[in-house]
Structure formats: C-alpha cells, structure tokens
C-alpha cells in the first residue's frame, strides 16, 4: 500500500483528470489536505464495512476524485478502479456513489449531505455507538437553504458526534462567493446557529488533525471546522481561477501541474 499523503492525492487528481480529460480539478485539489488528514490520521475505519466505523459524507461531491485517491491509497479500491474514472460502465464518476467500497453516501446535489450526516449522527447516538460522522461541505454549498435546516437541527439536538468541515475557498461554480452571494462572515454564521466553531488552515494537516482531536464528541454542540483553503492549491496557474472548476488540462498544463505538485 502506498503512503497516504496530500502530495500523492494531488498527483492522482492530476493523472486521472488528464487521462479522463475532465475538469473539477481545482475543487479536488482544494481539499487534498483535508482528505489526507481525514484518511491519514482522523477517521477510525478498521474496514469499510465495519458498522461502527466513522462515517464520511463528501457533501461537495464534485471533488470525489480526491476521495477516490484516498480510497486507493488506503487499499480499498484497485488501480483498475481508479483508472476507470469517468469511463463507461465505471462506478467512479465525477460524483461519488455509495456502491463503491468505502463510500458511505451518494452525493452530487449540493445541500443534501449535511442532513444525511445529521441523521447518521443521531442514529449513532441512539445506538450508543462511539462512531463519529464527518461531512465536508463547500462554501458555495452554503447558498442552499436546506443546509441551514440541517445546521439548526444538529445544534438543537446537540449532535456532538457530528463534525462538519467547510472548504472555504471563496469560489463557486460561476464566480467568487463574495460576488455571487456573500457568505461573510462564515464562522460567525455557524457560531450564531449554535455550533462549536473553529477556524483552521485547510492546507495544514497537523492543524486539522489537532483541531479534531480537541473536540468533545461525547457531549455538547456539533462542531464545524471552517477550513481556509485555496482553490486549485498546489498548481500555481489554477489557484483561485474560476476556469479550473470546469476545464480539462492540455498536455503542457498537465506537465507543469505535475512538476509543481511533486516538487
């Protein structure tokens, strides 16, 4: 099994996006460090079918390639699986499907994942299980009213075993969040809704892991890490550029991107 690092995740994101000639590269790169922290240190998953494993909902499903990379590096999916990304008859599309070993929930429609995660967390508490539920949401996703329904429910029911991570890269599909629909101040909004709110550097794995380790998951309000990230992190010409939500890479762009993430 290969070592699970954000550097390897980024390389896989680039390799597979180039091979499949597809986009959604920048949003996957943005969460590479969050995914590396989760699968490298945080998640307690003895095996993907252990009923008491921690759960992860990738509510920003369009970054599934980062998740596939982690599942591959964990040894839960094969290289052939990975190489089927966006191919015909593949389970590995742009958005994740629960049919894949290691993926708990199908996502892809924004604003849905947090409510499923809250239900899973409530279920764990009712079953007196110590499992935790993590959910990664995008900042653009916070445009969705349904997300805030779940935010209110989780706070009201003090789902201490629920940990949301907001990928705050300041971008959404068709613009910068500050220009489309302002979400500032993000942390204060979650705090006002009753969540235990922490701000972290979303590219600092140690800081992410330390923040999670400090949480009281047995009692109290649900937790949110507002993870400050850079869209396209690691590839200079992609960073904070809207077009890399959509565009596939040329040969030259791919070579340069790989040079940068493996440097």
């Amino acid at each position: 099994m290969e070592s699970l690092s954000s550097r390897r995740i980024r390389q896989i994101i680039l390799d597979q996006s180039k091979r499949a000639h597809v986009g959604h590269i920048g949003c996957s790169l943005a969460i590479a460090d969050i995914i590396a922290a989760l699968y490298g240190e945080i998640l307690n998953i003895p095996s993907p079918d252990d009923p008491n494993r921690d759960r992860l909902v990738l509510s920003k499903g369009h970054a599934a390639l980062a998740l596939y990379a982690a599942l591959f590096l964990k040894g839960w999916i094969s290289e052939a699986d990975l190489n089927s990304y966006c191919g015909d008859a593949s389970l590995f599309g742009v958005h994740p499907d629960h049919s894949v070993n290691g993926i708990d929930f199908t996502t892809g429609s924004l604003g849905h994942g947090l409510s499923m995660a809250a239900g899973t967390a409530l279920g764990a508490r009712m079953q007196r299980s110590g499992r935790r539920v993590f959910v990664v949401v995008s900042d653009g996703e916070c445009n969705e009213g349904s997300l805030w329904e779940a935010v209110m429910f989780a706070a009201h029911h003090r789902l201490a075993n629920l940990i949301a991570i907001v990928d705050l890269d300041g971008q959404q599909a068709f613009g910068y969040t500050s220009e489309v629909l302002s979400l500032t101040p993000m942390a204060e909004r979650w705090r006002a809704f009753g969540w235990d709110t922490h701000e972290v550097d979303g590219h600092d794995q140690k800081a992410i892991s330390a923040a999670v380790a400090s949480l009281d998951i047995s009692d109290g309000p649900p937790h949110v890490l507002i993870a400050h990230t850079i869209f396209g992190k690691g590839v200079s010409f992609m960073e904070s550029k809207i077009r890399w939500h959509y565009m596939p890479m040329s040969e030259e762009e791919y070579r340069q991107a790989v040079r940068e993430v493996t440097a």
Binding site: H112, S146, M152, F153
Partner: protein, 312 residues
C-alpha cells in the same frame, strides 16, 4: 386514517426498536398516543421537509426504519430530490407518509391540494407506493409493508371514519381488491374516492347497469396480473382518482392496456386542470372535477352509451 396509522405504528414500535416517527411540525392531536409511549423515538424536526428526508436517510443507513410525516404535498414535492437522491438511490427503508391526498385540505387552497403525489412517486424506481381506500385497509397496508427493505410512500386520508363497502380491510401488495361484481362496466378506483365510486355503482344498479368496482391501493408494485385479467373482460373501464389524470391510476391502467394490447377503452376520471383560485369543501371540489357520485354516474352512462346504442 391518521389515528389508525398512529396506533398501528405505535404497536409496531412496541415490537421493533428500529421504528421511528419524524414530523415536519404537523400531527397535533394525531401523534400524542405514539409520543406518550415512545417519546425517545419521536422527532418534530420543525418546518424542514428536506432536512427531514435527509435525516431519515441517515437514520435508515444506521439501521432504523424512520416514518416521516407531513401533508401530502409537503411530504412528496418539497423534498422530492432528497427522496430521489436519498432512500431511492441508497435503497433504504424510509417511509414517507403524505396525509390528505387530493382535495382533502379543501378550503386550505391549492398549495395543500395533493394532485400529483402518486404520479411523482410512481416515477421513481424501487419505491413501494400505497394509497389505501379506507381505514381498515390502511391498517392492513401498513402492517403488510412497514418492514420492506426499500422505501415506501403512503398516501393517507385525514378521514378517520371512512369505510368502503365490500373492501373489508383487504390489502395484498401487487394485487387489487374487487369490491363489487357486474358485467357492464369496470370502474377502477384509488383512494377514499372509492366510496364515491361505490355510491355511483349503486345508482347505476338502480338503473339496471351492473358494474365491477376494483380498488387499487398497491399502486407500486402495480396489480398488473389482476388488471390484465379484469380489463380483458370489459370494453370500457373508468378510472377514478382524486389526482391529476396524468401519473396516477388512470395512467397506470392505460399503460397496462397499451402494453398488453387489450381492447378496453379507458375513461380517466380525475383532475384535468389546475383549480386556479377556486376553493371550497373537499366535496365541492371533487364535484367540480367530476368526482362526485352524480358526476361519475353521468360519465359512466356516456362511456357505455355508444355500445348500448350499437347493441340496440
């Protein structure tokens, strides 16, 4: 049916710790018996139907059997995509309970008239769709389906006293129930409007016209074999539902007639246009849309008239 549903669910909760009840802030004077017995398994999630379906999906993934409840429009349409991407895509045992199908919320107006819930639910693969005609059948249907592995949609009536003569509480998944036998016309009904169909059949009987009346409560899986057998024996069938004529039992019957090449003409009785601005009692609105016993008799007579004339 609401009181019966609550009591039945409470009994099931006594037997099985997986049974939960979630409501989006509705059920005052309905759910108290359940809450008193199972306070830790009842959640009023607030006015948030999308979240309720997401929560239920997560709870079902954890091994529970959550029943989620609201007025039929709010239970089916507002969280429709959460139903599709949740229990449907994940094949999870979420039970969606929509109360007050058709015009039962009468004067509450068009936001509360559920005229397409069966149609939108029937579109989705893998979901069981149940529309009981009366109170005893509602209980039988819940008891027959509560622990199915996949999702279920129940369209329940507000009426706690409705009884359809001849139904006797019968329900079998994938079958219909014949409640009256006659040779001249077939009438196929869905939901509490079945009582109006029986009343119409009685008037037709007094005029010497004998009707077979069948109730379709198992909308999905559909009673295909039963319908093929029945439809093959009649030149014309009336379908009757408090629903748009598209998507519900009229569509279901038409699909079966077409797919099996049957020579039966289908006359669909139901709602054909949005009742813009018009409100009133359920009885008034059903009459306005041709679903009163009197209107059904007139439609039935028109439907069989060409044949009677040609036979003369």
């Amino acid at each position: 049916m609401r009181a019966t549903f609550t009591h039945t669910l409470s009994e099931l909760a006594d037997r099985d710790p997986r049974v939960l009840l979630l409501t989006a802030d509705l059920g005052f004077t309905v759910f108290e018996p359940f809450i008193e017995k199972h306070p830790d398994r009842f959640f009023n999630v607030g006015v948030s139907e999308q979240n309720m379906l997401g929560l239920a999906t997560g709870l079902a993934e954890a091994g529970f059997i959550p029943f989620v409840y609201s007025i039929a429009t709010f239970a089916s349409l507002r969280p429709y995509e959460f139903i599709r991407n949740g229990p449907i895509l994940h094949h999870l045992p979420v039970r969606i309970v929509g109360v007050g199908g058709g015009f039962e919320y009468g004067t509450a107006g068009p936001t509360h008239h559920s005229l397409e819930d069966i149609g939108v639910m029937r579109l989705q693969p893998g979901i069981t769709v149940i529309a009981p005609a009366d109170v005893p059948q509602a209980r039988s249907a819940v008891l027959a389906t509560w622990d199915l592995p996949g999702p279920v949609y129940y369209r329940l009536s507000k009426d706690d006293r409705i009884i359809v003569s001849g139904l006797d509480g019968r329900f079998t998944l994938g079958q219909l129930q014949v409640i009256r036998q006659g040779q001249e016309l077939l009438m196929i009904a869905m939901g509490p409007v079945s009582a109006d169909v029986v009343a119409a059949a009685e008037v037709l009987h007094e005029q010497g016209i004998e009707c077979t009346v069948a109730v379709v409560a198992s909308v999905n899986p559909p009673p295909t074999s039963d319908l093929v057998a029945l439809l093959g024996g009649f030149p014309v069938a009336l379908t009757v539902e408090a629903h748009y004529v598209t998507g519900g039992v009229g569509s279901l019957v038409s699909e079966i007639v077409a797919e099996h090449g049957l020579g039966c003409r289908v006359v669909r009785c139901g709602v054909r246009e949005s009742p813009d601005g018009i409100t009133g009692s359920p009885q008034y609105l059903q009459q306005l849309h041709g679903l009163s016993p009197t209107a059904l008799v007139e439609t039935a007579l028109r439907a069989i008239q060409p044949r009677r004339t040609s036979n003369a």
